[in-house]
């Protein structure tokens, strides 16, 4: 018994020593607080550049809660592990970053640490922001520090043990975080490198468009093979892109600025917010971004493009008035539902072609590897980002029963693509109906 007791004591001692060792290794120093810098100390040019850079980073998406004040935090970021709330990055001294020096801000971007040395969770994509230059961070700091200070205490992350211990992220960083600024690729031109700097840095495209491993880290070896974002599927940007026509540089640049592109439609879901901010940054940045992203392979040769467009024309929905009268109108008949609810806009000669919708045979949502985005669009519709303008589609979430939605989804997938039916359509429908629309 005494021997057993000694083993226990020994084990406890080992745990304590390892714990202290981990604590000593994982602890990071605080950076001294400063008084909020006077607005006059930042140049107008620096603040203006910072505004563009903050738009490229889409900072306000996660740092502003719905109907909340800009950058005052509180937006719930749903992760597979729990909910993390975007922090208050206005210069409020008590609840924001008013006491943060530029050095503290730079360290948070480059190393994922708070001013007090606490670890940030990688829902804040410091894994990408580490690539951003000191000069750009200086300008973002100038922009944020000259925003109105908003007193707003953000809820603590809702994470299970042990993830609720921030220091655990030191171990995550050891496995998945590679600190360091962007290094230009000498074999590529300036536009490509500028695009790569934006996409891999501030733009953090990969946070949604790259699949994640079980630890919530990007599977970088998979490239841009597609991932998830706020209940939507973030399509692949590499050669596995679901678009049958592929993308040209002009199409992609237009799409990223929020344009309605004939063969791709308009961004929906969380991407609509991204295109809204990209519409405000210099065109050259978006062109560069397009150059870089297209180098991942989502293009198609001219003849394949032509063939896809011709094929889509053949599949377009055609129905005569006489046929309409003959629809049995079974609530389970996807074609009948399409003829009544969708065809007024979604077929050539439809009665309401205010916006010429994208041909469904060419739609990435209909050609996607899963039903998520088509279901989200049917349930919640399409609408421009708040304050913006653009194509609209009413949502049918409260109109169609789950069975009717499933029939419609099955019909659209089969008729317009001829591809195999999706699995887990029911799950996609119930999940979509539980979440608010974008």
């Amino acid at each position: 018994m005494a021997r057993f007791g000694r083993i226990i004591v020994g084990l406890v001692a080992i745990v304590i020593v390892v714990g202290i060792g981990f604590w000593a290794w994982a602890s990071e120093p605080a950076i001294d607080p400063v008084s909020r810098p006077a607005a006059g100390q930042f140049s107008k040019a620096s603040i203006a550049k910072g505004a563009e850079l903050a738009a490229l980073g889409n900072c306000q998406a996660c740092h502003t809660r719905p109907n909340g004040k800009a950058y005052a935090g509180g937006y719930p970021v749903e992760t597979p592990f729990g909910t993390i709330y975007g922090s208050n990055i206005t210069p409020d001294p008590d609840t924001g970053i008013g006491k943060w020096s530029e050095a503290a801000f730079r360290r948070s971007m480059h190393e994922g640490l708070r001013r007090d040395g606490g670890h940030l969770y990688p829902a804040f994509p410091y894994t990408h922001f580490t690539k951003v230059s000191d000069a750009d961070i200086k300008d973002i700091y100038a922009f944020l520090m000259t925003r109105p200070a908003v007193h707003n205490t953000v809820p603590s992350p809702d994470l299970p043990f042990p993830l609720d211990i921030r220091m655990v992220m030191a171990g995550w960083n050891l496995l998945f975080f590679h600190e360091g600024r962007y290094q230009p690729d000498g074999s590529q031109n300036a536009a490509w490198n500028h695009g790569a700097y934006i996409a891999e840095g501030l733009g953090h495209c990969a946070a949604c468009h790259v699949p994640m491993n079980m630890f919530g880290a990007e599977k970088t070896d998979k490239g841009y093979a597609g991932g998830n974002a706020a209940g939507w599927h973030a399509p692949a940007l590499d050669k596995s892109s679901p678009s049958p026509v592929g993308w040209t540089k002009d199409e992609l640049a237009g799409y990223l600025r929020g344009d309605m592109t004939p063969h791709h439609g308009v961004a929906a879901g969380p991407m609509a917010d991204v295109t809204k901010v990209l519409a405000e940054v210099p065109h050259a940045d978006v062109e560069a971004l397009s150059t870089y992203i297209l180098s991942k392979g989502a293009t198609k040769p001219a003849d394949a493009r032509k063939a896809a467009i011709a094929d889509a024309g053949k599949k377009s929905f055609q129905v005569t008035t006489a046929q309409k009268a003959n629809f049995k109108g079974s609530a389970k008949d996807g074609e009948a539902i399409f003829a009544g609810a969708c065809a007024s806009c979604h077929f050539d000669g439809g009665s309401q072609p205010f916006y010429r919708p994208v041909d469904l045979s060419l739609s990435s949502a209909v050609n996607a590897p899963n039903a998520t985005n088509l279901v989200q669009i049917i349930t919640h519709g399409v609408k421009p980002a708040a304050g913006g303008s653009g194509p609209i589609m009413p949502g049918f979430g409260d109109v169609l029963t789950d069975d009717q939605t499933a029939s419609l989804v099955g019909y659209v997938r089969k008729h317009f693509t001829g591809k195999p039916a999706w699995d887990h359509v029911d799950k996609a429908i119930s999940t979509s109906k539980e979440t608010a629309g974008q």
Binding site: N67, A325, G329, A336, Q352, F354, I392, P394, V399, Q404
Partner: protein, 154 residues
């Protein structure tokens, strides 16, 4: 032929199954409460309740309505005995041209069926999809508030 259940009564629709509910309500059933506004599901003047949820009747083919319950403005009350939301709109004189009001009342009714004690912010948020071009918004919001208070006895 599609059988509709509107305000508790059944109706055999003569129109083809792809026809929007709004046309059947107005043309076949002579229920003219719901109005044709934009025809795109963007203005809300055609709002009716499907089960207890407000929906745009201009966007719903009758083919999907077999066995489901539709309620229109006429189903909430009569001129002599207006329903709670109708009465609140009358009491607040919440109408100018009145074209949007049937839809506004139906959307309010949908809110109170789901949430008997809405906050002012919840009322504003909920009423967003319905448009009014006269600028009667303040009175409409007061009317919804009044109906909610009547409901809760406040």
């Amino acid at each position: 032929m599609i059988t509709l259940t509107v305000n508790g009564k059944t109706h055999q629709a003569e129109s083809d199954p792809t026809t929007p509910l709004l046309y059947v309500l107005r043309d076949e059933m002579k229920l003219n409460g719901a109005k044709y506004g934009c025809g795109l599901g963007q203005c809300g003047s055609c709002t009716v309740l499907l089960e207890d949820k407000p929906v745009f009747s201009c966007q719903i083919p009758i083919s999907v309505l077999e066995g489901r319950k539709v309620t229109t403005l006429e189903g909430l009350g009569t001129i002599d005995e207006p329903g709670r939301v109708q009465k609140a709109f009358i009491d607040e004189q919440a109408a100018q041209c009145g074209y949007c009001i049937a839809g506004m009342i139906m959307r309010s009714e949908g809110l109170l069926r789901r949430n008997a004690f809405p906050s002012d912010a919840e009322i504003r948020d909920w009423m967003q999809p319905n448009l009014c071009r006269c600028g009667t918004h303040s009175r409409i919001l007061k009317a919804v508030r009044r109906a909610a208070n009547a409901e809760s006895g406040a």
